[in-house]
Amino acid sequence: MTFNRRIFLGSAAVTAGLLAAPMVRAQGKPRVVVVGGGAGGATAARYIAKDSQGAIDVTLVEPTRTYYTCFFSNLYLGGFRDMQSLGHSYGTLAAEYGINVVHDWAVGVDRDAKTVTLAGGSSLPYDRLILSPGIDFVDGAVEGWDLSSQNAMPHAYKGGSQTELLKAQIMAMPQGGTYAMVAPPNPYRCPPGPYERISMVAHTLKEVNPTAKILIADPKEKFSKQGLFEEGWNDHYAGMIERIGPDFGGADVVVDPAAMTLSIDGDVNNVDVCNVIPAMKAGRIAEIAGITEGNWAPVNAVDMSSKMDENIHVLGDAAAQGDMPKSGFSANSQAKVCANAVRGALTGSTVFPARFANTCWSLIDTEDGVKVGATYEATEEKIAKVDGFVSQTGESDELRAATYQESIGWYDGIVADMFG
C-alpha cells in the first residue's frame, strides 16, 4: 500500500472546516514529534506519515529551511559536486505527506507532560518523540579550540556553511602551504569521512596547489578503509600526505587559532588551514531530555526506543546502539525500523522484525570509488553485525568507476527516501 495524495487531500477536504484550528483537528489522533530533519528524522517522519495515511499527526522540528547533507560534502571539497546539489527542501514532506514542518530549535523536553519546547516559545505535545539530532562536539576535546574558533579553524563536520568556509580556505592557501586536520577519536559520525576528506582535499590541491602538504594528527591507531585509502594516497597523491598516529603523538594536540599553529606532541607546526574535527557527542537535545549516558543515548535495538524512556526513540548518530557505524545510511535504516514500531504502537498496525543495513561509499580520486557495508540484526543487548564486506585493494579501474557511479545513484536514492 503506498501513500496516495488523493486520499490525503480527500480526508483533508472532509475536515476542511477544521483546518483553521489545527489543534482541534489533531485531537484524538496520536501525535509523533520528530526532532531533527536529517537522514534519521526526515526518513522517520516520511515513513510514519506515508504508511499511516493520515492516522498519525506528524510534526518535524528542524531549524534549517534548506538541509545540506553532510554525506557527499567531501565531494564538494574535491570539486565533484556543487553545494546546491547537496541542498534539500522540506516542501514535499509538507505538501505531499501532510507533515507539519516547524523550522525552529527544540530546546526542552518535559518527559512527564510529554511536550517539546521550542526556542520560539511554543510547546508541542507528543505521544511518541523521535530524537534524531545528529552530533555536537565535546567541550574541550581539542586544547585551544572551541566553537568560537570555528571560523579560523573549521570543523566542517555539519553540512553547509562550514563546508563552504573550509573550501574557501583551501582555495586561498599559499602555494606550497599546509592543510592540517585534527582527526576525531572513536566513535564519531561517518568513520571514513575524515579520510575521504583528505583524499578530496588532496585532489583539489593537486590541481591548484601541487606543492602543498597535508598533515593529519590522528588519535586512532587505525581507521576505516585504511588499506584502501593508503593505497589510493600512494597512487594518486604520493608525497603529499603525512599522517601522525598516536604512536608519534597524534593524540597529543594543541591548536592556536590566532597564531594558526598546530602542536603535535609539543612540535609546533605553522599551518595555513586547520580542519579541527573534535570528539563528538549526541546532539544537545538528547542530553537536555536526560536520556544520555556518557556522550550518547542508549537505545533498545528492536525499536530504537531510549533505554531511559519508552516514549522516546533516538536515531542515527546520537544513539548508542551497538555495532552500526554512525552514518546517514545507518540513520535512514534505523528510521524505518523505528517508524514501523511507532506506527504499530500507536495504531495497532503490524510490527515486523527489526533489520538494519549500512553501506558507506568513499571517493579517493576521480572515478576511484570504494565502499564498505554490513547487515545487522536486533539482539537483546544491541544492534549486532550479521555480515559485511569491504572493497579490495588492487581492484580494476572499471570496478572503481562503477562503485563511484553507484554512490551517485545511492545519493539520489537516499535523499528521495528522506525528502520524498
Binding site: 500500500m1 503506498t2 515513513y47 504508511d51 545510511f329 535512514n332 535504516s333 524505518k336 514501523n340 503490524t350 515486523f352 533489520r355 543495513a357 553501506t359 565502499k371 557495508g373 554490513a374 547487515t375 550479521v386 555480515d387 559485511g388 564486506f389 572493497s391 557511479q405 553507484e406 554512490s407 551517485i408 545513484g409 545511492w410 539520489d412 536514492g413 537516499i414 528521495a416 527516501d417
Partner: protein, 231 residues
C-alpha cells in the same frame, strides 16, 4: 546525422537486408546478451523486466500491449515518439538522454558500430510480422535456476513493503535510475530469480549478495510481490 539520413534513404529505397543498414547482425546478436537480462526478442518473446522487442521498428513508443511503461517513457510516447532507426540509435546510445526517467537501467552503447550491429540484429525481428526468424526466443532474464516450489511461493506484499525499506535506501521507488538500477515493476518471477542469484553468489555484487544473503525464500517472494505491484 547525414549518415543516418543516408541509411534511412537506403532502407526506404532498397529494402531491409542487414548489409544496407550497415551493421553486422551476427555481432549484434552477441551484443544483445547485454540486453537479454531484461528484453526478449524472437518467436514467442514476452514482456519481461523490459518489453519484448519484436516489430520494434516503426512501432510507436510505449505500445507493447500490457507492459507497464515508466512515466518518462509514457510521456515520450504521448509526445509522438516512434521507434525507427534514428530514434532507436539515439536511445541505445544513452537511454536517459532521449527519455528522461526511463526505467531502463543501461549505460548505452557508445560506439556507432556496436549500435549499427545491434540494430541490424533487431531489424531481423521487425522486417514484417510473418518474417520473424524461426529461432527460439532469446534467453529470458533467467540467468540462474530457481526451484519451481520456490518460484511458486506467493509473497505477502505488506511484508514486502516493510522489507522494501532496505532497498529504497539506494533503489528509488519511483523507478528513477542513475548509477543504481530500477527494480520497480519487475515481473515477480524475474525479481525472485535475480535475488536468488545474488543470494547464492552467482551474480557478483557485494552489496546485493549481502542484502539478499539473509533474505528467506518467503521474504524474497514478499519483496517481489511488492515491487511488482507498486504504482
Amino acid at each position: 546525422m547525414w549518415r543516418r539520413l543516408f541509411f534511412i534513404a537506403l532502407l526506404g529505397a532498397a529494402g531491409t537486408s542487414q548489409a544496407e543498414v550497415g551493421g553486422d547482425a551476427e555481432n549484434g546478436q552477441t551484443l544483445f546478451r547485454q540486453c537479454s537480462g531484461c528484453h526478449e526478442v524472437g518467436q514467442g518473446a514476452r514482456d519481461r523486466i523490459g518489453p519484448h522487442l519484436n516489430n520494434i521498428f516503426d512501432r510507436p513508443a510505449g505500445a507493447a500491449d500490457g507492459y507497464r511503461y515508466s512515466a518518462g517513457l509514457q510521456r515520450a510516447a504521448d509526445g509522438g515518439l516512434v521507434w525507427n532507426y534514428d530514434t532507436l540509435d539515439d536511445f541505445i546510445e544513452n537511454p536517459r538522454r532521449l527519455v528522461s526517467n526511463t526505467r531502463m537501467s543501461f549505460h548505452g552503447f557508445e560506439a556507432q558500430q556496436e549500435r549499427d550491429d545491434l540494430l541490424a540484429y533487431l531489424r531481423q525481428f521487425s522486417a514484417s510480422p510473418g518474417n520473424i526468424p524461426e529461432a527460439a526466443p532469446t534467453a529470458a532474464a533467467v540467468d540462474h535456476a530457481v526451484a519451481p516450489e520456490v518460484l511458486a511461493i506467493i509473497g505477502d506484499p505488506a511484508y514486502g513493503e516493510y522489507l522494501s525499506g532496505e532497498c529504497t535506501s539506494c533503489h528509488q521507488a519511483s523507478g528513477a535510475t542513475d548509477g543504481i538500477p530500477s527494480i520497480t515493476n519487475w515481473p515477480a518471477d524475474d525479481f525472485v530469480v535475480v535475488m536468488h542469484a545474488y543470494k547464492e553468489g552467482v551474480r557478483a555484487h557485494p552489496v546485493m549478495q549481502m542484502m539478499a544473503g539473509r533474505l528467506s525464500n518467503e521474504e524474497i517472494a514478499a519483496l517481489a510481490a511488492y515491487f511488482e505491484s507498486i504504482e
